[in-house]
Structure formats: structure tokens, C-alpha cells
């Protein structure tokens, strides 16, 4: 399928490379490919939360595999983003158990407040609202994933607070 390709500045810092090498060391020497998923998570986190073709090619080079092997994997798993996305991505769980607790209304509320539709990014590039499938927090619904963390038992007030905190740069996305 024809895809649009976006440019990305690649910065493989020493910290990142150290972490990648640590992850690779978790698998037998001739099974470097096994580290693919954890490594993709790390490079994505370090590159504005998305993976360009160039970045995936870089990962292929590090793991000594074919680029297509990385593309195949990156397109299979939903957590890898293949184009630039909003900095704060509100990923609402929209599977049944959460819907029983009012997720759909809350998603409508969030979209309205941010002035975007589901799957859209705000013009300032800060926010994106998505509906995703079961995140394994059914008893704490409604909930969303923001970066590496879950925000649970959500209410309209909590959403307002979260949006304000994001704007004030008070939200930590990744646990490094």
C-alpha cells in the first residue's frame, strides 16, 4: 500500500544506544532480532513518539536484520506510530467494559473541549484523541493511556485538569 513518508531528525544518543545494547544483551547473541519490540519502544520514545522509515532502517542496521522485517513488525503492533502525532496522545479505552462506565460521553467531551475529532491532532500539535481497544483497566473505568501511564476513574473535571497540566508542561510521559 502506498504510504506518505515524513522526515524525522534522528538522534541516537549515547544514553539511547546504551539502553539498546542493554536490551540486546537480554537475548542470546545470535537472536538479536528478539530485541526488536523493546528497541523500537525505546527509539520511538526518544524521537517524539513516532518512527520514520529512516529510524526503522537504523534499527534494522543495529539488529542486523532486513529493513522489511522491521516494517512488518512496526505496522503490526498498534503502539508504533508511523507518522508524527500529537505530543499528548489521549488514548481512551473504548472497549465494552469502559463504555458501560461512560467512556463514550467522556471522549465526546474531550474532543469538544479540544476542538478535534477522534484521531485528529490539535493545530498546535499538543493533543491528539484516540479510541483504543481494551487496556486492561476495566475495573477502573473510564480511563486512558497517556504516555507510559494510565489515568483512571476519569471524570470531566479530571480531564480538564489533565489538559491544563499538559499545557503547563507538568505531565511526565515516559518513565526513564
Amino acid at each position: 500500500m502506498e504510504r506518505t513518508h515524513h522526515k524525522q531528525e534522528i538522534n541516537m544518543t549515547e544514553t539511547l544506544m546504551n539502553r539498546i545494547n542493554e536490551l540486546i544483551s537480554h537475548y542470546p547473541e545470535d537472536k538479536k532480532k528478539s530485541a526488536l519490540l523493546p528497541v523500537l519502544h525505546e527509539v520511538q520514545d526518544a524521537h517524539d513518539n513516532w518512527l520514520s522509515i529512516e529510524l526503522m532502517d537504523k534499527v534494522a542496521e543495529i539488529l542486523e536484520i532486513l529493513p522489511i522485517e522491521v516494517y512488518e513488525v512496526a505496522t503490526f503492533y498498534t503502539m508504533f506510530n508511523l507518522k508524527p502525532i500529537g505530543k499528548y496522545m489521549f488514548e481512551f479505552c473504548q472497549t465494552s467494559c469502559c463504555c458501560l462506565r461512560g467512556t463514550e460521553d467522556l471522549m465526546d467531551y474531550t474532543c469538544e473541549k479540544l476542538g478535534v475529532g477522534i484521531g485528529e491532532t490539535t493545530p498546535d500539535g499538543l493533543f491528539e484523541v484516540r479510541g483504543v481497544e481494551c487496556l486492561g483497566a476495566c475495573g477502573y473505568a473510564p480511563m486512558m493511556q497517556l504516555g507510559d501511564f494510565y489515568k483512571e476513574h476519569l471524570t470531566r473535571e479530571k480531564i480538564d485538569q489533565l489538559i491544563a497540566d499538559c499545557r503547563d508542561n507538568k505531565i511526565i510521559l515516559h518513565d526513564k
Partner: protein, 349 residues
């Protein structure tokens, strides 16, 4: 080892699959196979067309297997009893799989180069229905250019993954694969890169449908207007068997393919030079005309016989197309007169 398929007994070596055993017996008991390809490793098990019923597991453990089994990846056991064509359950399952394969298929056989030698057509003829129960919008994919020799039509693909196995097995630098997931999984290079390996053309031969077709033959002819001849040449490409079928129209070679057996598998893989560049009769030693099945489409052009009036056994008015599509057709550049318009609406034009 002894195995019985549809009541016919055969001795097979350990490690033989049910499908291979059935092919040894031959005839109507042979399950259809859309993804399995005996010349390619790690193919099979995916399309579910070859499901069979194992009524008796083996002499040692005679219990029947509760689920239908994919015969192409299930090994024979001594004393195993299998029902293929004889089982109502199997027939139903094959009908189901056929229906599933067709719901999102574009059904564009009239403009498809594969028509006439398409495994999906054969499968539909045997197990399909002329009516559809699918009224939803069909899934479609953005087209991708994968180079000057091969045309990729993702909408027709059934994801057998044989072409991926070809690249894995015959080349050392695969550039295409299966991307995305679920019903949007697709064959792609992801970066619209030309698949320009010397053996890439074999993807066309192993493709059971019209998803991968020969660009050098594109829209040149229907396959049944060609006359196939077996031919060979002294090919110097390492790994190329040099034995092909050339498809001729008069004295012109319109297409070169691998030489296929009764299960539509090539006898040996050929290189792109043989396939795409050698289109002169002088390039080839022609061995003679190929045999073809009496009931094949290709046969239709080879014997003259009295034709009956064609009756299309399908839904009323299928030639009109769907109402919602007809609305989209606007032909203001060619105005129709009142009568013609009326006829057009009724689908008689």
C-alpha cells in the same frame, strides 16, 4: 504407513501430509490449496481451503479429531482415516472459506489478467455460490508500484504469503512482506521500492490469484486466446531451470511463465531474463504444445463445438450493478436521449 482418504487406501512414507497423500491418490479427493506450495518451505495452513475431517486419528489412537484439520500441514498417521470430498462438514467448511475469500474480492475477472488460470475462480466454481450475502462496502487498498515487471493488485490478494516465501527462499534480500494487520494486512514494500531481484518474477507464477501479474503481458490477451507451448533455452543464470511455457498468439510470444503441473505449481523456478526479456521465438527451443485439462477455460478456444445460448445463473439484474453505483455514473459528455436514458436506468444499455 497406511492412510485412507475418502475410502481409498494408500501407503505413504512417514512425514507425508494428508494433502500429499491425497495428491498421490489424485482425483476428486484432492483438497483445493490456495496457500500451500510444495516447492516453497513454510507455506500452508493459512487459507483453510484444504480442511479435511479426520474420522480416525490412527491405529494407536483411533479417536477422531474434533476440529477439521488443514490437510497441507497435518501429517499422516498409520491407520488414519480422512474424509475429504465425502464429508458434508468438509464441503460446508470449504464453501464458507470460499465465501470469506470472495466477500472483499473485487470480482473484476473481466479485466483481470489472471482470469482463466485463477485458483480462486476454480475454487469459486467448485464451492462458491452465485449469490452474495455481503452488502457492506468492500475493503480496498491504495495501489503501490513495485517496479517495471510486476503489477501488484492488492485488492485481489488472498494473503497466501507464497510471494513472501519466494523472496525468502530464492533471494537473499527480501524487500517486500506482509504489512499491517487483520483484514488490512497487505503485501507491500512499505517504501514503494522496486522488487528487482533476478528471481522476483516467480512471485507471479506462485500467486494463486491476480494480485501479482506480469506487466509485460498486461492487457495483451486473455490467457485462453494464447496457445501454450513448452520451451527451453540454455540459461546461464545460476538457479534458473530454463524450462518454461511460452504463451503464443500466432508467431508472437506474448508471455513466458514457469512450467506448471496439474496443481498449478511450477516444476522449476525461472529467472527474470527468461521471463521478461526473451520474447523472440528464436530465443527458445519449442518442445511442443502443452497438454491442458479438458474442462479448463483454455480448452474453450481449442475445439469448435456448438455453443448453447449462455444463461447467467445469478441474481436478477446483476449486470446493472448496484443501485448506489449506478447513481455515481454520470455521462454528461455523451448525452443520451430520453429513450436511451430510460433503458440505461433499467440496465439494458
Amino acid at each position: 504407513m497406511k492412510v485412507t482418504i475418502d475410502g481409498q487406501e494408500i501407503e505413504v512414507a512417514p512425514g507425508t501430509t494428508i494433502l500429499q497423500a491425497a495428491r498421490m491418490i489424485g482425483g476428486e479427493s484432492v483438497p483445493p490449496a490456495m496457500c500451500y506450495y510444495s516447492k516453497l518451505d513454510k507455506t500452508g495452513g493459512k487459507c483453510r481451503c484444504c480442511l479435511v475431517e479426520v474420522a480416525k486419528g490412527s491405529d494407536a489412537d483411533p479417536r477422531p479429531m474434533p476440529k477439521l484439520m488443514a490437510s497441507c500441514v497435518t501429517g499422516c498417521m498409520d491407520g488414519m482415516e480422512v474424509n475429504s470430498k465425502n464429508s458434508e462438514r468438509v464441503r460446508e467448511a470449504r464453501q464458507s472459506v470460499t465465501e470469506f475469500l470472495l466477500i472483499n474480492h473485487p470480482l473484476d475477472c473481466p479485466i483481470c489478467d489472471q482470469a482463466g488460470e485463477c485458483d480462486l475462480q476454480d475454487l469459486s466454481f467448485e464451492h462458491g455460490k452465485s449469490k452474495t450475502r455481503f452488502i457492506e462496502e468492500k475493503r480496498t487498498f491504495e495501489p503501490e508500484d513495485i517496479g517495471p515487471n510486476i503489477q501488484l493488485h492488492m485488492n485481489r490478494c488472498i494473503l497466501c504469503q507464497r510471494c513472501v516465501a519466494v523472496a525468502d527462499q530464492l533471494t537473499d534480500n527480501r524487500v517486500h512482506g506482509v504489512l499491517d494487520r487483520g483484514d488490512h494486512a497487505n503485501i507491500s514494500t512499505c517504501i514503494s521500492k522496486a522488487i528487482d531481484n533476478e528471481f522476483s518474477g516467480n512471485m507471479i507464477d506462485v500467486c494463486p490469484v491476480g494480485a501479482l501479474t506480469d506487466k509485460t503481458f498486461r492487457f495483451k490477451s486473455r490467457v485462453w486466446f494464447n496457445k501454450p507451448f513448452n520451451a527451453h533455452r540454455e540459461c546461464t543464470t545460476p538457479g534458473c531451470c530454463g524450462k518454461t511455457t511460452v504463451w503464443m498468439f500466432g508467431n508472437e510470444i506474448q508471455r513466458v511463465t514457469g512450467r506448471k503441473d496439474q496443481y498449478h505449481e511450477v516444476e522449476g523456478f525461472i529467472c527474470n531474463t527468461c521471463r521478461f526479456d526473451k520474447k523472440e521465438v528464436s530465443d527458445w527451443v519449442i518442445e511442443g504444445p502443452r497438454k491442458f485439462d479438458k474442462d479448463s477455460v483454455i480448452n474453450q478456444n481449442n475445439y469448435t463445438r456448438e455453443m448453447d445460448t449462455v444463461h447467467i445463473a445469478t441474481e436478477e439484474g446483476i449486470l446493472k450493478g448496484r443501485a448506489e453505483d449506478r447513481k455515481k455514473i454520470s455521462m454528461t459528455a455523451i448525452p443520451l436521449d430520453q429513450k436511451e436514458q430510460e433503458e440505461f436506468k433499467n440496465g439494458n444499455l
